[in-house]
């Protein structure tokens, strides 16, 4: 594994830099692009560690699905949902919490990691055997989790229609807010798209 020193160091360095970029970027678009770079570097690390299937999943699910989902949301939000000024107290407490966690974990690591021989087993075949063997129940439960997540996301995202017998006032209020949005100068289709789903206030 020693001959792979340079790729590992490069992937680790880019992963660290892009992780810092994710948390420091003012514009969410930049943060999302940094997350894309980060997840690709992590996928490279997985490949180096001979975890082919996990690397593939990282590229497909993280870089392909999750980052694109984030990009869609950032594109929907006006001004990309730009970051406001964070109060200093919160930054200080976050630094303290992060540093404390780092110190605690470093103390645990200082004891030394176990030095076992590298795991010779590997490959998609072994993962498949354990997914469809002893881990079949959690694997099947994953399907239920994804289904519930899809239904939940659609139900939350969906435009909330007023009840058929709802009070006319609430419907009028909803239509008024719609008309207001449509008439407002500079109202973009994006804002309309967001506002149309607004609940009857």
């Amino acid at each position: 594994m020693n001959n792979a020193f340079l790729p590992i160091a490069l992937a680790c360095a880019v992963a660290l830099v892009s992780a810092v970029g994710v948390i420091l970027a003012r514009r969410p678009v930049h943060a999302v692009v940094a997350l894309l770079a980060h997840s690709l570097c992590v996928a490279a690390l997985f490949l180096i560690m001979a975890a082919d299937l996990v690397a593939l999943g990282q590229v497909l699910i993280y870089s392909g699905a999750i980052v694109v989902l984030f990009l869609f949301v950032v594109a929907l939000l006006p001004h990309g949902g730009i970051e406001s000024v964070v109060p200093t107290g919160r930054v200080v407490s976050a630094v303290v919490a992060g540093a404390a966690l780092l110190a605690a974990l470093a103390a645990g690591l200082a004891v030394g990691a176990p030095t076992a021989p590298e795991n010779p087993a590997g490959g998609v075949e072994a993962i498949g055997r354990s997914l469809f063997g002893p881990l079949i129940v959690p694997f099947e439960l994953t399907a239920a989790l994804l289904l519930v997540a899809i239904i939940g996301a659609v139900a939350i995202w969906r435009r909330q229609e007023p009840e058929p017998g709802a009070k006319a006032s609430s419907r009028a209020a909803s239509e008024g807010s719609l008309a207001h949005t449509a008439d407002a100068p500079g109202a973009t289709g994006r804002q309309r798209l967001l506002d149309e789903g607004g609940p009857a206030r």
């Binding site: 590992i8 969410p28 996990v54 949301v73 976050a94 966690l101 470093a106 997914l131 607004g198 609940p199």
Partner: protein, 107 residues
């Protein structure tokens, strides 16, 4: 190469640092999307550590770490979908996604 061979320890250190960066972001970002991004960073860091353990430690349950990483990825995808739907929903209600403005359950 004069440096020490790359082993489990290095990946654990990397994963730890990434997790702490993610936690700092989750605590300090004022933007709900930024908080979700930081949570993704933390989940990724845990995945790095899981895969490193699967690579460097010979367990009777072979490759448990890699399988666990796949499960974490699935949960991360579900979490991102629901979390972003909530962000959009809150934006419709409040016209803001700053976490300070999301206090609907207060009082």
């Amino acid at each position: 190469m004069a440096l020490a061979p790359i082993g489990l320890q290095h990946f654990l250190v990397l994963g730890t640092i990434l997790f702490c960066i993610g936690m700092y972001g989750a605590l300090s970002r004022s933007n709900a999307v930024g908080v979700l991004l930081s949570i993704e960073l933390m989940l990724n860091a845990v995945n790095v550590i899981m895969v490193a353990f699967a690579k460097f430690i010979d367990t009777p349950q072979e490759l448990a770490g890699q399988v666990f990483a796949i499960f974490i990825m699935t949960v991360a995808a579900a979490e991102a979908a629901v979390g972003l739907a909530i962000v959009i929903s809150v934006y419709r209600l409040r016209h803001s996604i700053q976490v300070d403005d999301i206090d609907l359950l207060k009082n």
